[in-house]
Symmetry: C2
Subunit: 157 residues, 2 copies
Protein backbone atom coordinates (compact mmCIF):
# COMPACT_ATOMS: atom_id res chain seq x y z
CA UNK A 1 0.00 0.00 0.00
CA UNK A 2 2.88 2.33 0.72
CA UNK A 3 3.79 2.02 -2.96
CA UNK A 4 0.81 4.28 -3.60
CA UNK A 5 2.70 7.27 -2.21
CA UNK A 6 5.11 8.88 -4.64
CA UNK A 7 7.63 11.56 -3.73
CA UNK A 8 8.47 14.25 -6.26
CA UNK A 9 12.04 15.08 -7.26
CA UNK A 10 13.46 18.35 -5.91
CA UNK A 11 13.95 20.71 -8.85
CA UNK A 12 13.75 24.33 -7.70
CA UNK A 13 13.63 26.26 -4.44
CA UNK A 14 10.28 27.76 -5.43
CA UNK A 15 8.82 24.29 -6.09
CA UNK A 16 10.05 23.00 -2.72
CA UNK A 17 9.06 26.04 -0.62
CA UNK A 18 5.97 27.43 -2.32
CA UNK A 19 4.59 24.46 -4.21
CA UNK A 20 2.21 21.62 -3.40
CA UNK A 21 4.44 18.72 -4.44
CA UNK A 22 5.61 16.42 -1.66
CA UNK A 23 9.38 16.32 -2.22
CA UNK A 24 10.99 15.35 1.10
CA UNK A 25 14.73 15.58 1.57
CA UNK A 26 16.30 12.63 3.33
CA UNK A 27 19.75 13.08 4.86
CA UNK A 28 22.91 11.11 4.07
CA UNK A 29 21.55 8.25 6.20
CA UNK A 30 18.25 8.26 4.26
CA UNK A 31 16.38 9.81 7.21
CA UNK A 32 14.15 12.83 7.84
CA UNK A 33 13.60 14.10 11.41
CA UNK A 34 10.06 14.06 12.77
CA UNK A 35 8.77 16.22 15.63
CA UNK A 36 5.85 14.45 17.30
CA UNK A 37 3.43 16.47 19.45
CA UNK A 38 0.30 15.57 21.41
CA UNK A 39 -2.66 16.84 19.39
CA UNK A 40 -4.63 17.71 22.53
CA UNK A 41 -1.97 19.59 24.52
CA UNK A 42 0.61 20.62 21.94
CA UNK A 43 3.32 19.10 24.11
CA UNK A 44 6.37 17.84 22.23
CA UNK A 45 6.47 14.09 22.91
CA UNK A 46 9.53 12.98 20.96
CA UNK A 47 11.90 13.67 18.11
CA UNK A 48 12.11 10.64 15.86
CA UNK A 49 13.44 9.81 12.43
CA UNK A 50 11.71 8.35 9.37
CA UNK A 51 13.14 6.72 6.31
CA UNK A 52 11.30 6.67 2.96
CA UNK A 53 9.26 3.61 3.95
CA UNK A 54 8.36 4.90 7.44
CA UNK A 55 7.05 8.17 6.01
CA UNK A 56 5.02 6.36 3.36
CA UNK A 57 3.55 3.90 5.88
CA UNK A 58 2.67 6.75 8.23
CA UNK A 59 0.79 8.47 5.40
CA UNK A 60 -1.03 5.35 4.21
CA UNK A 61 -1.90 3.80 7.58
CA UNK A 62 -2.51 6.91 9.71
CA UNK A 63 -0.28 5.45 12.44
CA UNK A 64 3.20 6.75 13.20
CA UNK A 65 6.08 4.73 11.82
CA UNK A 66 9.72 5.61 12.43
CA UNK A 67 13.16 4.25 11.65
CA UNK A 68 14.81 2.99 14.83
CA UNK A 69 18.41 4.17 14.63
CA UNK A 70 19.46 1.97 17.56
CA UNK A 71 17.73 -1.22 16.39
CA UNK A 72 18.07 -0.40 12.67
CA UNK A 73 14.55 -1.55 11.83
CA UNK A 74 11.29 0.00 10.66
CA UNK A 75 9.50 0.86 13.90
CA UNK A 76 5.72 0.83 14.20
CA UNK A 77 5.53 2.91 17.37
CA UNK A 78 3.45 1.13 20.00
CA UNK A 79 3.79 -2.36 18.51
CA UNK A 80 5.42 -3.48 21.78
CA UNK A 81 3.96 -1.07 24.33
CA UNK A 82 0.47 -0.69 22.85
CA UNK A 83 1.01 3.08 22.81
CA UNK A 84 0.24 3.41 19.09
CA UNK A 85 0.28 7.00 17.81
CA UNK A 86 -2.78 7.83 15.70
CA UNK A 87 -2.02 10.65 13.26
CA UNK A 88 -4.24 13.72 13.54
CA UNK A 89 -2.16 15.86 11.20
CA UNK A 90 1.15 15.60 9.36
CA UNK A 91 3.00 18.71 8.25
CA UNK A 92 6.23 19.37 6.37
CA UNK A 93 8.51 22.37 6.67
CA UNK A 94 9.62 25.02 4.17
CA UNK A 95 12.58 23.18 2.66
CA UNK A 96 10.91 19.80 3.21
CA UNK A 97 13.68 18.32 5.35
CA UNK A 98 11.60 17.89 8.54
CA UNK A 99 8.05 16.77 9.36
CA UNK A 100 5.73 17.55 12.25
CA UNK A 101 3.31 14.85 13.37
CA UNK A 102 0.35 15.66 15.63
CA UNK A 103 -0.89 12.46 17.29
CA UNK A 104 -3.34 10.97 19.73
CA UNK A 105 -2.09 8.17 22.02
CA UNK A 106 -4.07 5.86 24.29
CA UNK A 107 -2.78 6.42 27.81
CA UNK A 108 -1.22 9.70 26.72
CA UNK A 109 2.33 8.42 27.20
CA UNK A 110 5.11 8.16 24.69
CA UNK A 111 8.55 7.88 26.27
CA UNK A 112 10.33 4.52 26.72
CA UNK A 113 11.57 5.69 30.15
CA UNK A 114 7.94 5.80 31.28
CA UNK A 115 7.23 9.51 31.13
CA UNK A 116 4.50 11.18 29.09
CA UNK A 117 6.97 13.13 26.97
CA UNK A 118 10.60 12.30 26.22
CA UNK A 119 11.32 15.92 27.15
CA UNK A 120 10.64 15.49 30.87
CA UNK A 121 13.61 17.59 32.06
CA UNK A 122 14.36 21.28 31.62
CA UNK A 123 17.72 23.03 31.46
CA UNK A 124 17.98 26.04 33.79
CA UNK A 125 18.90 29.24 31.96
CA UNK A 126 21.58 31.79 32.83
CA UNK A 127 25.34 32.06 32.82
CA UNK A 128 26.23 31.21 36.37
CA UNK A 129 24.07 28.25 37.43
CA UNK A 130 25.26 24.69 37.72
CA UNK A 131 22.70 23.72 35.08
CA UNK A 132 21.40 20.74 37.00
CA UNK A 133 18.45 19.44 35.01
CA UNK A 134 15.02 19.90 36.56
CA UNK A 135 12.35 17.19 36.31
CA UNK A 136 9.15 18.68 34.86
CA UNK A 137 7.09 15.51 35.19
CA UNK A 138 6.60 14.40 38.77
CA UNK A 139 5.93 10.72 38.11
CA UNK A 140 6.05 8.16 35.36
CA UNK A 141 2.94 7.46 33.31
CA UNK A 142 3.72 3.74 33.13
CA UNK A 143 6.27 1.21 34.39
CA UNK A 144 8.70 0.54 31.53
CA UNK A 145 9.76 -2.79 33.04
CA UNK A 146 6.19 -4.05 32.87
CA UNK A 147 5.68 -2.76 29.34
CA UNK A 148 9.01 -3.61 27.73
CA UNK A 149 10.24 -6.47 29.93
CA UNK A 150 13.85 -7.28 29.17
CA UNK A 151 13.99 -5.57 25.78
CA UNK A 152 17.31 -3.70 25.37
CA UNK A 153 17.25 0.01 26.19
CA UNK A 154 17.43 2.04 22.95
CA UNK A 155 19.55 4.82 24.47
CA UNK A 156 23.11 4.93 23.14
CA UNK A 157 25.96 6.63 24.98
CA UNK B 1 30.25 33.90 29.12
CA UNK B 2 29.34 30.69 27.36
CA UNK B 3 32.44 29.21 28.98
CA UNK B 4 30.42 29.17 32.19
CA UNK B 5 28.32 26.28 30.89
CA UNK B 6 29.94 22.87 31.23
CA UNK B 7 28.58 19.68 29.72
CA UNK B 8 29.05 16.40 31.58
CA UNK B 9 30.53 13.32 29.96
CA UNK B 10 28.11 10.48 29.14
CA UNK B 11 28.94 7.55 31.38
CA UNK B 12 25.85 5.39 31.93
CA UNK B 13 22.33 5.09 30.56
CA UNK B 14 20.92 5.73 34.04
CA UNK B 15 22.94 8.92 34.40
CA UNK B 16 21.80 10.19 30.98
CA UNK B 17 18.12 9.21 31.31
CA UNK B 18 17.34 9.56 35.00
CA UNK B 19 19.97 11.98 36.26
CA UNK B 20 20.26 15.74 36.52
CA UNK B 21 23.56 16.17 34.69
CA UNK B 22 23.42 18.01 31.36
CA UNK B 23 25.25 15.62 29.02
CA UNK B 24 24.08 16.39 25.49
CA UNK B 25 24.97 14.09 22.61
CA UNK B 26 26.08 15.85 19.45
CA UNK B 27 25.99 13.91 16.18
CA UNK B 28 28.90 13.18 13.84
CA UNK B 29 28.63 16.75 12.54
CA UNK B 30 28.79 18.15 16.10
CA UNK B 31 25.10 19.08 16.04
CA UNK B 32 22.02 18.42 18.17
CA UNK B 33 18.51 18.96 16.70
CA UNK B 34 16.28 21.58 18.34
CA UNK B 35 12.48 21.69 18.11
CA UNK B 36 11.33 25.29 18.57
CA UNK B 37 7.71 25.96 19.53
CA UNK B 38 5.73 29.15 20.22
CA UNK B 39 5.31 29.38 23.99
CA UNK B 40 1.84 30.93 23.67
CA UNK B 41 0.26 28.57 21.11
CA UNK B 42 2.41 25.43 21.26
CA UNK B 43 2.77 25.57 17.48
CA UNK B 44 5.98 24.05 16.13
CA UNK B 45 7.81 26.92 14.46
CA UNK B 46 10.97 25.27 13.18
CA UNK B 47 13.42 22.42 13.52
CA UNK B 48 16.94 23.80 13.84
CA UNK B 49 20.35 22.50 14.82
CA UNK B 50 22.77 23.68 17.52
CA UNK B 51 26.44 23.02 17.93
CA UNK B 52 28.16 23.12 21.33
CA UNK B 53 28.60 26.91 21.20
CA UNK B 54 25.01 27.62 20.03
CA UNK B 55 23.56 25.57 22.89
CA UNK B 56 25.79 27.29 25.44
CA UNK B 57 24.96 30.77 24.10
CA UNK B 58 21.25 29.96 24.14
CA UNK B 59 21.55 28.97 27.81
CA UNK B 60 23.61 31.97 28.85
CA UNK B 61 21.85 34.70 26.82
CA UNK B 62 18.24 33.47 26.90
CA UNK B 63 18.01 34.04 23.14
CA UNK B 64 17.94 31.21 20.60
CA UNK B 65 21.19 30.51 18.79
CA UNK B 66 21.55 27.84 16.14
CA UNK B 67 24.17 26.50 13.76
CA UNK B 68 23.28 27.39 10.19
CA UNK B 69 24.01 24.28 8.14
CA UNK B 70 23.67 26.19 4.84
CA UNK B 71 25.81 29.18 5.80
CA UNK B 72 28.05 27.21 8.19
CA UNK B 73 28.06 29.93 10.84
CA UNK B 74 26.77 30.42 14.37
CA UNK B 75 23.31 31.90 13.84
CA UNK B 76 21.73 34.30 16.32
CA UNK B 77 18.17 33.89 15.10
CA UNK B 78 16.64 37.30 14.35
CA UNK B 79 19.94 39.17 13.95
CA UNK B 80 18.90 40.01 10.36
CA UNK B 81 15.10 39.94 10.56
CA UNK B 82 14.67 41.33 14.07
CA UNK B 83 12.58 38.24 14.89
CA UNK B 84 14.72 37.30 17.91
CA UNK B 85 13.47 34.25 19.83
CA UNK B 86 13.35 34.84 23.58
CA UNK B 87 13.64 31.56 25.49
CA UNK B 88 10.77 30.76 27.84
CA UNK B 89 11.87 27.20 28.52
CA UNK B 90 14.53 24.80 27.27
CA UNK B 91 14.10 21.05 27.66
CA UNK B 92 16.20 18.03 26.76
CA UNK B 93 14.99 14.54 25.91
CA UNK B 94 15.53 11.15 27.54
CA UNK B 95 18.80 10.21 25.83
CA UNK B 96 19.86 13.87 25.60
CA UNK B 97 20.25 13.94 21.83
CA UNK B 98 17.52 16.52 21.13
CA UNK B 99 16.33 19.75 22.75
CA UNK B 100 12.96 21.51 22.81
CA UNK B 101 12.92 25.29 22.97
CA UNK B 102 9.76 27.23 23.89
CA UNK B 103 10.10 30.83 22.70
CA UNK B 104 8.38 34.18 22.40
CA UNK B 105 8.94 36.16 19.20
CA UNK B 106 8.01 39.77 18.41
CA UNK B 107 5.62 39.68 15.44
CA UNK B 108 4.99 35.99 16.08
CA UNK B 109 6.72 34.93 12.87
CA UNK B 110 9.67 32.64 12.41
CA UNK B 111 9.99 31.24 8.90
CA UNK B 112 12.35 32.74 6.30
CA UNK B 113 9.67 32.22 3.61
CA UNK B 114 7.48 34.72 5.50
CA UNK B 115 5.07 32.39 7.25
CA UNK B 116 4.50 32.19 11.00
CA UNK B 117 5.72 28.60 11.22
CA UNK B 118 8.07 26.77 8.86
CA UNK B 119 5.46 23.98 8.92
CA UNK B 120 2.85 25.88 6.88
CA UNK B 121 1.82 22.91 4.72
CA UNK B 122 0.16 19.63 5.62
CA UNK B 123 0.42 16.26 3.90
CA UNK B 124 -2.96 14.64 3.18
CA UNK B 125 -3.27 11.19 4.70
CA UNK B 126 -4.45 7.97 3.06
CA UNK B 127 -3.23 5.50 0.50
CA UNK B 128 -4.92 6.68 -2.65
CA UNK B 129 -4.69 10.45 -2.71
CA UNK B 130 -2.31 12.44 -4.89
CA UNK B 131 -0.78 13.87 -1.70
CA UNK B 132 -0.76 17.45 -2.95
CA UNK B 133 0.35 19.56 -0.01
CA UNK B 134 -2.27 21.82 1.57
CA UNK B 135 -1.40 25.32 2.78
CA UNK B 136 -2.45 25.71 6.43
CA UNK B 137 -1.49 29.39 6.67
CA UNK B 138 -3.50 31.64 4.39
CA UNK B 139 -1.05 34.51 4.15
CA UNK B 140 2.51 35.42 5.00
CA UNK B 141 3.24 37.18 8.28
CA UNK B 142 5.91 39.35 6.66
CA UNK B 143 7.48 40.04 3.28
CA UNK B 144 10.79 38.15 3.15
CA UNK B 145 12.14 40.43 0.40
CA UNK B 146 11.73 43.45 2.63
CA UNK B 147 13.23 41.70 5.64
CA UNK B 148 16.10 39.79 4.05
CA UNK B 149 16.76 41.83 0.88
CA UNK B 150 19.11 40.00 -1.44
CA UNK B 151 20.49 37.57 1.16
CA UNK B 152 20.84 34.07 -0.35
CA UNK B 153 17.99 31.66 0.32
CA UNK B 154 19.10 29.05 2.89
CA UNK B 155 17.10 26.22 1.29
CA UNK B 156 19.26 23.56 -0.35
CA UNK B 157 17.96 21.17 -2.98
Amino acid sequence: MSNDVQFASRRTIEQVEEGTELAPKFDEHGLIPCVTTAANSGEVLMLGYMNDEALKRTITTGEAHYWSRSRKVLWHKGATSGLVQRVVELRIDDDQDAVWLRVEIPGDASCHVGYRSCFYRSIPMGGDSMHALKFEESEKAFDPKKVYGDAPNPTQL
